[in-house]
């Protein structure tokens, strides 16, 4: 159990800056995801926490202890990697017991903890199996169990689910989250998959090109993205980001989308306020696919569009609409019926819409 404090943490490889002055506080017992596309610096950050990589600048504190000079084996961290490093010539039992054996625990204690972990991971009937006979899914369960069993102060996981099939990934997500609630360990989880980060983490650090973009709870990051990178990265399908014109007419403000029409900012106080803050700037209007409504073409308000593509993706249907100059996606329930080529109108409740500065990409009026 330990809080992790990264201050001004920087890693350079020659002229390339992999991680740039990162400040991050990971509270004790929290599950924090480092999320971003490849090359964002998430794995380098984790490697510095682990001690595999030396920081170029900055500080790493576990509680109040500076660990920068400590080798990995003295940091009391546990690891699970994408490629489960387990001993294939050993049984599942011996793999689980390994970390405890090297710590010279009493045999009865080892046995108790191995069986407890096996029960948690639902590996009871595999304990005597040679690891070489296990499926990919089971291997990863052993790898996670083997690391968790030593109860390290900090548990680091680098894309542990990315080699697993979809159904098992969904199952392991639940189990990992449950494990963390039971063990109360500080967990740092590296992933490029926003679904994993959203579903597992207490807090998400969204990174891009070595820089922290936003740090917050899943709800904060999803509902109040600080910039267009975060807005676009979180959610699937991603947020609709539409360049538009801010129009002031007779004291009322609205957003112009060329031939497709206008959306009135008037009704909602917060959006009025943001639109005023943006006066004069080029803006990008943001709205999530699930927040848009599709209406018949002949009503008042909204933007005119034509259905260009309908994707049934299982529990939901994603409808693509061609506006005059832009395309938007709308998420509807499964078996939603609409035909390609149909003329529709799309409306957006202002309370759920976002506004970004087109030049900087920063959210406007977020406070």
């Amino acid at each position: 159990m330990a809080a992790i404090r990264l201050s001004h943490l920087t890693k350079k490889f020659g002229a390339f800056t992999a991680v740039d002055a990162l400040d991050l506080l990971i509270p004790d017992k929290e599950f924090v995801a480092l999320l971003g596309p490849s090359g964002c610096g998430k794995t380098t950050t984790m490697n510095m926490i682990a001690g595999i990589e030396q920081a170029t600048e900055g500080q790493i504190l576990f509680d109040d202890r500076d660990v920068r000079r400590l080798p990995p084996n003295q940091r009391d961290v546990g690891f699970v990697f994408q490629n489960y490093a387990i001993f294939t010539h050993m049984t599942v039992y011996d793999n689980l017991a390994f970390g405890l054996s090297v710590r010279k625990l009493a045999r009865a204690e080892i046995d108790r903890r191995v069986r407890e972990m096996a029960a948690l991971m639902r590996l009871e009937d595999r304990l005597e199996w040679p690891s070489s006979k296990l499926s990919v899914n089971e291997l990863q369960k052993v790898a996670i169990g083997r690391s968790a069993i030593t109860e390290p102060a900090i548990f680091l996981l680098d894309e542990p689910l990315s080699n697993l099939d979809a159904a098992f990934r969904a199952f392991m997500r639940t189990e990992l989250k449950h494990l963390q609630h039971q063990f109360q360990q500080t967990m740092v989880y590296v992933t490029h998959d926003q679904i994993e980060a959203m579903s597992l983490a207490d807090r998400i650090a969204v990174m891009n090109l070595g820089e922290l973009q936003q740090y917050g709870t899943p709800a904060e990051v999803y509902n109040r993205p600080r910039n267009t990178f975060v807005a676009n990265f979180m959610g699937s399908p991603s947020m609709n980001l539409l360049p538009c014109r801010l129009i002031a007419e007779a004291g009322a403000l609205c957003f112009g989308f060329g031939e497709a029409g206008r959306l009135d900012a008037g009704g909602d106080g917060a959006m009025q306020h943001r639109a005023r803050a943006a006066a004069g700037a080029e803006v990008i209007f943001g709205v999530r696919p699930e927040d848009l409504e599709i209406a018949p073409p002949d009503g008042p308000g909204g933007l005119k569009g034509v259905v260009s593509f309908v994707e049934p993706v299982g529990p939901r249907t994603i409808v693509h609409l061609k506006l005059a100059e832009q395309t938007v996606k709308v998420a509807k329930e499964k078996r939603y019926k609409v035909s390609i080529g149909a003329a529709v109108r799309v409306t957006a409740p202002m309370a759920k819409c976002h506004l970004f500065d087109a030049a900087s990409g920063e959210a406007i009026g977020l406070g």
Binding site: A167, T174, M198, K334
Partner: protein, 362 residues
């Protein structure tokens, strides 16, 4: 333009059965996906179509003509491989011209066909660029263009975008679907990604161990799976299964591990009873207040996975864990008791031994 047919096709490699008794008709102009887990026979089906391997049994037909004896070149099918495989040292234009130059077609004709394809695919401005300077979407267009210049009867694609990141894959599949509609070509598309198959296919076939399990539209496959195998393979989060016994006379299903009983509407009489699995999709389960009276079962919230647009609420009834998909951002507490309802029209019942469908959703 091509109708593609497999009639009783089997293929083994030594003792390994790759494809077994496949009967399949892929209609002209259809976007057809072949979907299944690794080594289920997907790629072998493509190789059989292309003529790269010969079937041990059965017939392969293109436009009603038996083509078993024809070599790959005579079948006139175009293959787009995984990772798109463009020549990195050639410009987009040289890549496009390559299949024609290789066939020693005269220069003027090559130029004419490359220009025509470039216009269809709207890549005229990219012809002088090297693949390294193209975006993923542009590279895909060039790869398709290179297949298109040969004027093939149909396109075959083997996981053409599997190596790309999720966001780009989403864009590419929309683009691919649009292209297929415009080009009006039959397209056979192999993938192991169920969401990809669902989103782009007109129809799809699901394979298991070299055999076809089900063929249908994405809607049919998702909402009316004919076997437990298909039901499990399609859908994310996956379908929930509850083990129990079925009494066909009383039409009652009873769960094994907790108190849950329900009447199952049967479309056909005379089905076997015994060990069965009751199944329902996560988005079809309804969560109500624990105190509500009436149907359903009481469960506890086990974990919550918020995903923004919706949340997956994992609930447990004793040892059994079910996944429920709820729109928006619900605020349940861990271990909070709730009541689950399984609407009758959305439930499926599968035979415990064979996995065959006994009773399906409306």
């Amino acid at each position: 333009m091509a109708k593609l047919e497999f009639i009783g096709v089997s293929k083994s490699y030594g003792r390994n059965v790759a494809v077994k008794d496949v009967d399949l008709v892929i209609a002209d102009n259809e976007f057809f996906c072949i979907f299944g887990p690794p080594s289920c026979g997907k790629t072998t089906l493509l190789r059989l179509l292309l003529g790269l391997v010969q079937p041990d049994q059965g017939e392969i037909r293109i436009n009603d003509q038996r083509v078993n004896a024809l070599g790959p070149k005579e079948r006139n099918l175009a293959m787009v491989f995984q990772n798109l495989a463009l020549f990195p040292h050639m410009t987009a234009g040289q890549n496009l011209a390559f299949p024609l130059v290789e066939r020693k077609i005269d220069k003027a004709e090559v130029a004419r066909r490359v220009a025509a394809v470039a216009e269809t695919l709207r890549i005229g401005k990219l012809l002088k660029k090297l693949p390294a300077h193209l975006s993923g979407g542009e590279r895909q267009r060039v790869a398709i263009g290179r297949a298109l210049v040969r004027e093939p009867a149909a396109f075959l694609m083997d996981e053409p975008i599997a190596a790309l990141d999720a966001r780009l894959r989403e864009e590419m599949r929309v683009e691919l679907k649009r292209l297929q509609r415009e080009l009006k070509h039959t397209l056979v598309y192999v993938t192991h990604d169920q969401e990809e198959a669902m989103s782009i296919a007109d129809r799809m076939a699901i394979l298991e161990g070299g055999m076809i399990r089900q063929v249908g539209t994405p809607d049919e496959i998702y909402n009316h799976p004919q076997s437990r195998y298909v039901a499990e393979l399609i859908g994310s989060p996956p379908m929930n299964f509850i083990k129990g016994t079925f009494d066909p006379a009383a039409r009652r299903f009873r769960a094994d591990t907790f108190g849950f009983e329900t009447t199952i509407g049967l479309s056909a009489p005379g089905v076997a009873g015994g060990v069965t699995s009751f199944a329902i999709r996560p988005e079809d389960i309804v969560i109500r207040e624990a105190a509500d009276q009436g149907s359903g079962v009481v469960a506890e919230v086990y974990e919550i996975e918020p995903l923004g647009a919706y949340a997956i609420v994992d609930v447990n009834i004793g040892e059994t864990i079910l996944k429920v998909m709820v729109p928006g951002q619900p605020s349940y507490q861990l271990r909070q008791p709730i009541r689950l309802d399984f609407p009758a029209g959305k439930c499926h019942l599968f035979d415990g031994a064979t996995g065959a469908l006994i009773a399906g959703a409306a």
